[in-house]
Amino acid sequence: MALMNLITAINHTLDLAMAQDESVVVFGEDVGLEGGVFRATVGLQEKYGQQRCFDTPLAESAIVGSAIGMAVNGLRPVAEIQFSGFVYPAFNQIISHVARMRNRTRGQRTLPLVIRMPHGGGIRALEHHSESLDTFFGHIPGLKVVVPSTPYDAKGLLLAAIRDDDPVMFLEPSKIYRAFRQEVPEEDYTIPIGKAKVLKPGTDLTVVSWGAYIHEVLKAEQILQEEGIDLEIIDLRTISPIDRDTIIESVQKTGRFVVVHEAARSFGPGAELITLVNEGAFLHLEAPPTRLAGFDITIPLPRGEHHYFLDAQRIANGIRQVAHF
């Protein structure tokens, strides 16, 4: 076991995956020589050579498009997009090909590839460096979408993603890249994609969140615990396919539901979760299932971003209202 933060856990996991499987290749802008602007790939080029870890020209469509070709031809590419706000040039490749190649060819051509990117905001960055893309990717049939919230989970989920025979969007909450360290086993383990995790069982209200926000939710839990509100907290971990059963079971028990997310509110991931709860636990609902979400605005530049992001206080406040409904 070693203490790792999220970014070192990812670096360690890529290293492990490359050591175990020659077909794993890692690339993107600044990924090779520099080891990534967040240093997720540091040391890999030195260790595995320029053929397996390399810099690309500045062209996201080409990064994803060539990853498709590599996957077709026997590799397991792990492509890095420097920030989620720069993945849009690759949307055509992601929607038209990454998500569809298997179906299009009736199972003949599978695409075992991973597209990693820092996700979400809260890092006082320039415009476009703070985007949350849960809905965009979640709405595309044929994609799996994963968001880890801890170094331990990041390792298990990333290994699962790399070994998955289908494409996985791996969204890394950049806010917590270096926020805390955790014991991460050196050995091999995977965490199944598509399974949520009950972080804390509770009886009064179910809260679902993921990524960086889970940690704010956990803080809110402390506040509310003192007020006698007993939350059940679920880390979604996979945005698509959603682990409905875990959520619905929970809401059937608690009767109350809050989803907390960073993405903009309208047409956001919260809407999907609330709808699933309606579909699976309507008769158990004692209060309107509720979303605590980003405003429907462009994420503000650093001087205003604190208004956009939900902190434990605001989350507690929102949950409290549902608890007392």
């Binding site: 469509s61 498009g65 498709i68 070709g69 590599m70 077709v72 038209s96 003949q108």
Partner: protein, 361 residues
């Protein structure tokens, strides 16, 4: 090397056989036997026949939309024939001649235009990617396949197609650039058929030639008479051989003409003069090659007519099979999105089946 003389900025177009089927550059004729050239001509004829049949069936309402490739057969069969057995083909969507020559069953092709996903599922070992409808996207896949070949230390070469319209997409430039940077063993063939639906080549770019776009990526290119089977074969062979030996990518502009409509939904009389089409008719790659072979004494008009009929009947028989196969299985619509069907998808499928059964009773 041909590039020396016919490179992007030489203002020269490689032509080996002229429009009358007469060899003008004997020293450049690739070393195939007459019999082998005849086989390639037959491949073009099969393509033409299958094309005609598809159009005929479409007019009868039996085929759905179809994108004819009449006039472009040499630009397709030539490179396909120059490829090695292990090489990859990454098409755009109008490469019937290349598909068939690379081992794609005509039935599969017809299934595609019939509106069935099995039209993108090829026989085992056929190293061809399915049609890419979004223009420009496929060239990235070709580069990625080629990069993977290099990374794995294999010497497969990848050949990919794109249209003149496609050269305006950012994807095209990005892919050429990637190919250059990674020295990928890939050959890009632009089928410049002078139109992107109604938009003429002149409106597509101010560049005098499309092959000069290679300069932007610092890779070699060559402008070729796309209706000359000899030239297309020679240029492709040159580029493929070079790629296989580690020489990197090449761009080939095949200068040709789409004699038919863009697709069966298109009416070309709306945007081009009949006289223009008439000018291109005598440049038909099949006419030329037939003249050459008849001159050589290895082929005759009679044989040609007979084989053409035979291919037509064959194509019809293949299409009948497609019709008989009927619609895809319902489960197939759900089954192939992931290796394992996720719970929500299974539920959607099962509920729908229940609905259908309820409706039937």
């Amino acid at each position: 090397m041909l590039i020396q003389e016919y490179g992007p900025l030489k203002g020269q177009m490689l032509q080996i056989m002229d429009e009358n089927g007469v060899i003008q550059k004997p020293h450049l004729v690739p070393e195939l036997s007459d019999q082998e050239w005849l086989e390639l001509y037959k491949a073009m004829l099969l393509t033409r026949s299958a094309d005609n049949k598809a159009l005929q069936l479409q007019r009868q309402g039996r085929m759905l939309t179809y994108a004819p490739n009449t006039g472009q057969e040499a630009a397709q069969v030539g490179p396909a024939a120059a490829m090695g057995k292990q090489d990859w083909l990454v098409p755009a969507f109008r490469e019937l001649g290349a598909w068939l020559h690379r081992g794609v069953d005509l039935k599969t092709v017809y299934l595609y235009w019939y509106g069935n996903e099995y039209g993108s599922h090829f026989a085992e070992g056929v190293k061809v990617l399915p049609i890419a409808v979004p223009i420009g996207t496929q060239v990235h896949h070709a580069v990625g396949i080629a990069m993977a070949s290099s990374i794995k230390g294999e010497d497969d070469v990848t050949v990919t197609y794109i249209g003149d319209g496609g050269t305006s997409t950012g994807d095209f430039s990005e892919a050429l650039n990637f190919a250059g940077v990674f020295n990928a063993p890939v050959v890009f063939i632009v089928q410049n058929n002078q139109y992107a639906i109604s938009v003429s080549r002149q409106k597509q770019t101010k560049a005098e030639t499309l092959v000069q776009k290679a300069v932007a990526a610092g890779i070699p290119g060559i402008l070729v008479d796309g209706n000359d089977l000899f030239a297309m074969y020679a240029a492709a062979k040159d580029a493929i051989d070079r790629a296989r030996l580690g020489g990197g990518p090449t761009l080939i502009e095949a200068y040709t003409y789409r004699l038919g409509a863009h697709t069966t939904s298109d009416d070309p009389t709306k945007y081009r003069e009949d006289s223009e089409v008439a000018e291109w008719q005598p440049k038909d790659p099949l006419l030329r090659m037939k003249a050459y072979l008849i001159n050589k004494g290895v082929w005759s008009e009679e044989q040609d007519a007979a084989l053409s009929d035979e291919y037509g009947e064959y194509a019809l028989a293949v299409f009948r099979e497609v019709e008989e196969e009927g619609d895809p299985q319902l489960e197939d619509l759900f089954k192939y999105n992931f290796r394992e069907m996720p719970a929500h998808l299974r539920e959607q499928y099962e509920q729908y089946v229940q609905y259908l059964e309820g409706k039937v009773k």
